[in-house]
């Protein structure tokens, strides 16, 4: 997968025979063993591994749940209760899967904000970043459809609200909604097709993850300095150094995960979803799962229906254009004093939007969501392009090794001889 020659040498006669016919061992060796990793990566770089673990965990628990779940409108809710009460360790599988979705999003948001902070979307990693945005979109679709499956009140009304968004599209909107529903409203055909798609999409995610990892191995990893690997001394081989660190971080993440599963399993869910779906009664207050709340707040901040839908879609799609919106030549926010402040303001705006998304759309909440929504787009469309032109970055270190040897202190003020160093990557 990577662009450097494999150093894998088959040892046995069989290995030699096999390698000359399908060089997969060499591929794995060059991608996951010998692959050079910047030696200054922090724990923020372990979330990629954590995410791959979470994808695998969700697929595994999901398949096991599907062995007991019934995707039929009159039986779905009871079949989930059957899993919770009668299936051996069914409660564990379901809580793993339901909380796993939240953990997946926690990890992906940390992963994304890390990318934003360290400029990981910049050349030459644009395609890598866009593949990530595609994975994020697929994740959102998967999570949304998964939330519909228990067929509780929030499932049903969440599905109604979200599918109705498509009716805002001029002319073809109503046809699209009818194709999504397979009827005249959200009903059994909707549940059935959502189940089929919820089962399919994770495998599509896995496919795009392969491309994402492939693209990563072509460009190499970014690192806290944003300065590329220049000599062998800047890097360590992926195995054992990065592998062991990823495993350690994953175990720590699992402790966090386990806390939710075993002690607050319903904290991230919504009480109304323990009430069976009822098309004649709307819950007093429809809210999506927490990971959609910032986008939901943006949807509701715009007074016009179509405008709200467009703003919500744009809030995700704009990420794909980030490599060209940010005009700064410096990657890492560690060397961009102004951007660093705007980054943290942006983080707070996103958290605030999430909180506002959970509030009823009235009075001060609406005004606050509008202010935050405007800031969200201003950050991408005005601040990032303009900042790169006016900001004076701090001098970059000449190499990764230099920052490592100096330690964390005194990161500033070193002469920037970066451009002169010849690239001896290998």
């Amino acid at each position: 997968m990577s662009d450097h020659a494999s150093t894998y040498v088959p040892k046995s006669a069989f290995a030699k025979w096999f390698e000359s016919r399908l060089p997969i061992a060499g591929l794995v060796h060059s991608s996951f063993v010998a692959f050079p990793v910047p030696r200054n990566l922090t724990y923020f770089w372990t979330f990629g591994a954590i995410l791959i673990f979470m994808l695998g965990a969700q697929i595994l628990t999901g398949i096991w749940l599907a062995m007991h779940y019934v995707p039929e409108a009159t039986k779905a809710f009871d079949s989930v209760e059957h899993i919770m009460r009668d299936v051996n360790y069914g409660w564990l599988l379901r809580y793993l899967h339901a909380n796993g979705a939240s953990m997946f999003f926690i990890a992906v948001y940390i992963h994304m904000f890390r990318g934003l902070y360290y400029g990981s979307y910049k050349a030459p990693r644009e395609v890598l970043w866009i593949l990530g945005v595609i994975i994020f979109l697929l994740m959102m679709a998967t999570a949304f459809m998964g939330y519909v499956l228990p067929w509780g009140q929030m499932s049903f009304w969440g599905a109604t609200v979200i599918t109705n968004l498509f009716s805002a599209i001029p002319i073809v909107g109503d046809v699209i909604v009818s194709l999504l529903w397979g009827g005249y409203s959200v009903g059994n055909p909707t549940l059935n097709r959502f189940f089929a798609l919820h089962y399919l999409l994770p495998f599509m995610i896995a496919g795009v993850v392969v491309l994402h990892v492939w693209a990563l191995h072509v460009t190499g990893q970014n690192n806290p300095t944003g300065v590329p690997i220049k000599s062998a001394k800047d890097a360590v081989p992926f195995t054992p150094y990065a592998t062991i660190k990823d495993v350690f971080a994953t175990i720590c993440f699992l402790i966090f995960f386990a806390w939710f599963i075993f002690y607050v399993p319903n904290y991230l869910g919504h009480a109304d979803n323990y009430i069976p779906a009822n098309p004649a009664v709307t819950p007093a207050h429809i809210v999506p799962e927490w990971y959609f709340l910032p986008f939901y707040a943006i949807l509701r901040a715009v007074p016009d229906k179509l405008g709200g839908v467009i703003a919500m879609g744009a809030a995700v799609v704009i990420l794909a254009f980030l490599p060209w919106l940010d005009t700064s030549r410096v990657r890492s926010a560690n060397y961009r004093p102004l951007y660093r402040q705007f980054f943290w303001v942006f983080v707070i705006v996103c958290v605030l939007l999430g909180w506002l998304g959970s509030k009823p759309p009235e009075g001060g909440y609406v005004i606050a969501s509008r202010v935050c929504t405007i800031w969200y787009f201003v950050h991408f469309l005005v601040i990032l392009p303009v900042l790169g032109l006016f900001e004076t970055p701090r001098p970059l270190p000449s190499s990764i090794l230099e920052t490592v040897l100096r330690g964390k202190k005194g990161g500033a003020g070193m002469p920037a001889g970066a451009a002169a160093a010849p690239s001896t990557k290998g």
Binding site: R39, A258, Y263, P337, G364
Partner: protein, 301 residues
């Protein structure tokens, strides 16, 4: 640091924005008071005697209208009220369920068995609705998870934290609702068929006060000929709330027990892994993070 200052400024701006909003949202509805439950906390378990009393309250008070869709057999499962198998069989036999069709093609009634669900008083939702003023009384088996109340920022975060965690909002609500029937405040008109309840959202509830008086349900007597707990509306409400928490989360005890072992295991494993990782990285002079200028670097390939 400028970052820290910017953060602080933004956070205080956010807080300033949030506080008046939070205040404006919290009008009208009082929160159910927080109760002490034996099943809360990391080591919480159900009180068997309380669950058995709670089931008695269900049978004598709630059952005439509300469905409890759980099988009889679960009442003897570990982690629940743990009635004996003989008690369950005798209890089930008191109920009639429809079965069939038989060889002649007819449906017939037979005594219930432990494997059957506890039957409902009504044949279906519509019958229940027409007998209860147009709306069927909700099933109770999930009530303790299907009801909650908002704690607002920042308390909702506290509910998730280790040592402070709290998942018993539903039980609080049930207890508060059953003890929350009061005379309406002056100027509050209660429409016909409605009842004033302090804790019901909007205050007007169709259900008349279910547990009317102290002593309504007779509890099993202790060796001294008296019930070990008071036979009061307060205690009945508490016991039925605990019982409904069990029906909603029958594996609560197994879950907490398993969780304890899993987290201990993961903590030990993480500890061991940390030292393995440290040892591996020592070969290249340790990790960059906070390790200024340690040992020379080895070749990477």
């Amino acid at each position: 640091m400028t970052t820290a200052r910017a953060l602080l400024a933004a956070a205080s701006l956010a807080a300033g924005l949030a506080l008046p909003l939070a205040a404006s949202a919290a009008e009208g509805q009082p929160h159910p008071p927080r109760e002490k439950w034996s099943f809360s906390g990391v080591f919480g378990t159900f009180d068997r005697a309380q669950l058995q009393r709670g089931f008695k309250v269900y049978r004598e008070v709630c059952q005439s209208c509300h469905q409890l869709k759980i099988p009889f057999r679960t009442l003897s499962q570990p982690g629940g009220p743990q009635f004996s198998q003989a008690q369950i069989n005798a209890l089930a036999a008191e109920y009639k369920v429809q079965d069939g069709p038989n060889d002649a093609g007819d449906m017939f009634e037979r005594p219930a068995r432990a494997a059957d669900n506890i039957p409902w008083t009504f044949a279906n939702e519509n019958q229940a609705a027409s007998a209860n003023g147009g709306k069927a009384p909700p099933s109770l088996q999930l009530m303790a998870k299907a009801r909650s109340y908002e704690r607002g920022f920042p308390l909702f975060i506290v509910d998730a934290l280790p040592f402070f965690q709290y998942q018993e909002h539903g039980a609080d609500y049930i207890h508060a609702l059953l003890t929350g029937y009061k005379d309406p405040p002056a100027g509050f008109t209660v429409p016909p068929g409605g009842h004033y309840n302090e804790y019901f959202p909007g205050h007007i509830i169709a259900m008349p006060k279910p547990i009317a008086t102290d002593g309504q349900v007779e509890y099993p007597k202790g060796p001294d000929g008296k019930s070990p707990v008071p036979e009061t509306v307060e205690q009945y409400s508490r016991d039925i709330a605990a019982f409904l928490m069990w029906t909603a989360e029958p594996n609560l005890e197994a879950r907490k027990r398993t969780g304890f072992m899993v987290i201990i295991f993961l903590a030990v494993f993480a500890y061991l892994m940390y030292y393995v990782k440290k040892k591996v990285w020592a070969k290249v002079g340790g990790e960059a993070e906070g390790l200024p200028g340690t040992a020379p670097l080895g070749p990477t390939h």
